[in-house]
């Protein structure tokens, strides 16, 4: 579809938001009391933030929930049955105000969950999702989207991309049929474009991801991994805040004869992740696990999934309790 650009006034945004929340779920960012930004379903418009640089957790929860039930079972000595989850009941959701790193990450997740065989739990959620992205008007030292081939106003993954103007209004780039449907449901809120200057953050490029990928091909045994992971405490926080980390665990939970099998977020940073029952562990020390994290995102995924496993949101670095900075490491990596 050809992109069309319209104008939406500051005061019209609230009308659009209220209209959307009236008949479906809208997942939007709010600032909590501790100044952390989190996404919530249908918060009041007054609480929705337009000024966040990054939410604490990414938006991946909307398509890849922290915990997702895969089916329910009853299990007694004599009888076992499985009851399925009706994926058609997954509701329509609008993701509101997600920045380009997070919207692009939805595409990255698709490249994992739809690789080879399709994971319908993920795909159904993505199909029911309409994404109203928001270009970044500010950045901080952790941002590095431009090093991953994206930009603060990249439209990847968005159905409509809003970009703030100096006068407080917004450009609305309508990118897909889903985006068009939203505009068509409230045509009065979208005006013909007039002159206005977008305020887009500047994000300096820190490394070339192509160069990193190239370097990694021969870097498996490099001392870099030990030297750069000595600080790592294997807490897994980087994976939990990451918008593209998709590794998961599968577990059962039972009460009496009834239970459910679910999957939940997991992290390659944990030693238990790859531990065999025999006690053997292919990635037994933290440096091997740190290498896996970088290799997976910047070497294996580009080759196998045809997508880079990083969008440069900076959460893993800003959230790291021991201040490991992935962008700095990748910058160093391209010169080893």
């Amino acid at each position: 579809m050809e992109t069309t650009r319209k104008l939406i006034r500051k005061q019209s945004l609230e009308k659009l938001y209220n209209k959307l929340t009236a008949d479906r779920k809208v997942y939007a960012p709010v600032t909590a009391a501790d100044k952390q930004v989190e996404y919530k379903y249908n918060p009041g418009f007054a609480d929705v933030t337009f000024d966040h640089i990054r939410s604490t957790l990414s938006v991946k929860n909307v398509v890849f929930p922290k915990v997702e039930n895969l089916f329910f079972y009853t299990n007694s000595r004599t009888e076992s049955t499985i009851s399925e989850i009706d994926l058609n009941k997954i509701p329509e959701v609008v993701l509101w105000g997600a920045h380009p790193c997070d919207t692009s990450a939805l595409d990255t997740l698709r490249s994992i969950f739809c690789w080879d065989i399709t994971d319908e739990f993920f795909l159904k959620r993505l199909e029911k999702l309409t994404v109203i992205g928001l270009s970044c008007h500010q950045s901080d030292q952790y941002c590095f989207c431009t090093s991953t081939g994206l930009s603060p106003n990249s439209s990847k993954g968005s159905d409509i991309l809003l970009s703030g103007l100096q006068n407080g209004d917004y450009h609305a780039d309508i990118l897909t049929e889903k985006g068009k449907n939203i505009v068509n449901s409230s045509p009065e809120l979208f005006e013909v474009i007039s002159d206005g200057k977008e305020i887009i953050a500047e994000v300096k490029q820190k490394f070339s991801h192509e160069k990193v990928t190239e370097k990694l091909a021969g870097a498996f045994e490099h001392p870099f991994w030990v030297a750069n992971s000595l600080r790592c405490i294997g807490c897994g926080a980087c994976a939990y805040v990451c918008p593209t980390c998709a590794c998961f665990d599968i577990q059962d939970e039972t009460k009496g004869n009834n239970g459910k099998r679910y999957r939940s977020w997991d992290s390659c940073g944990f030693s238990l992740f790859t531990l065999h029952t025999s006690g053997h562990n292919p990635r037994e020390v933290q440096s091997q696990r740190w290498r896996q994290r970088i290799m997976h995102k910047f070497s294996y995924m580009p080759e196998r999934n045809k997508s880079l496993g990083c969008v440069g949101c900076g959460r893993c670095s800003s959230g790291c309790p021991v201040d490991m900075n992935i962008a700095e490491q990748l910058e160093a990596l391209q010169n080893i």
Binding site: F71, E120, A246, G259, C268, S278, H296, R304
Partner: protein, 278 residues
């Protein structure tokens, strides 16, 4: 059919063999006739077996695709799921997802000699391909099986070992580690690599299929090389911890190679270029 790729088939335990004090073989039949009808697999593939409430565990299908109507799995009581499996009885229900992964290229092996080398609990992942090729016996030349375990009581498939031993068209060599023998033991005494060196099967027109603990592999490879086997003519099946079985959960990869998708069957030629991550 459901779109839910995580939903297991419901299987009924149709037979239980206590192979050793801690190893069991289950014969599993599909509870739903339609599932049984549609299901097919090939030698080398694996599945996720589950006890509802305890979780899933990964094993290769241990029976041959030439034996229709059921699958078998052999497991050692080791972790949470395998202990729960071991507590089940005839008629109980097990979940099964699969088959996943690639297969042994047995069509390519036609007209060749086959040398199977297994150690301990690594015979079960090879039993499928062993029976598969025995059931198509006329397509292969000599079939030799070298199987070792720590002690006589640790040998699995005792009944089948007798059967293979009795067949004139199969050469079976069994061995136990020194000290693992009983007064009645008539097989070899010694570690698998040493016994292999002693038996010295020819590498001429022969495919070697090797599976065992890392230490056995480590010492068997030089023997195979000495016997003249080429890397491309040696096969093994790898195991790594898995959850999903189809390339999404992110834990079984060895470098860029997913054991669940690109394996579990690899030639030694392929293994040599893998990073040491298995």
């Amino acid at each position: 059919m459901s779109d839910n790729i995580y939903k297991p088939y419901l299987m009924e335990i149709d037979n239980i063999v206590e192979e050793t004090p801690d190893v069991r073989t289950f014969r599993l039949k599909f509870k739903n006739a339609e599932d049984a009808e549609k299901f097919s697999f090939k030698a080398g593939q694996f599945g996720e077996y589950s006890v509802f409430g305890e979780g899933e565990s990964t094993f290769c299908v241990a029976s041959s695709p030439t034996r229709k109507g059921y699958i078998e799995c052999t497991f050692r009581k080791a972790g949470r799921v395998t202990n729960a499996l071991a507590n089940l009885e005839l008629g109980d229900t097990v979940g099964f997802r699969g088959p996943y992964g690639n297969t042994f290229p047995i069509e390519e092996w036609e007209g060749k000699n086959l040398l199977y080398i297994a150690g301990g609990i690594a015979l079960p992942p090879m039993r499928c391909v062993i029976w598969n090729t025995i059931d198509l016996r006329e397509k292969y030349k000599d079939i030799t099986i070298v199987y070792g375990a720590r002690t006589v009581s640790d040998l699995v498939y005792k009944e089948e070992l007798k059967e293979w031993e009795a067949r004139p068209d199969i050469k079976l060599i069994t061995t136990v580690d020194p000290g693992g023998q009983t007064p009645e033991w008539k097989g070899e005494i010694g570690f698998v690599p040493m016994v292999l060196e002693k038996v010295a099967p020819s590498s001429e027109n022969t495919i070697a299929i090797l599976c065992g603990p890392p230490v056995m592999i480590k010492f068997t490879m030089p023997v195979l090389k000495k016997l003249g086997f080429k890397d491309k003519d040696i096969y093994t099946t790898l195991e790594n911890r898995m959850k999903c079985g189809f390339g999404k959960c992110g834990r079984c990869n060895v470098g860029k190679v997913f054991v669940c998708k690109d394996g579990p069957v690899f030639s030694y030629e392929q293994i040599l270029i893998l990073p040491e991550e298995f």
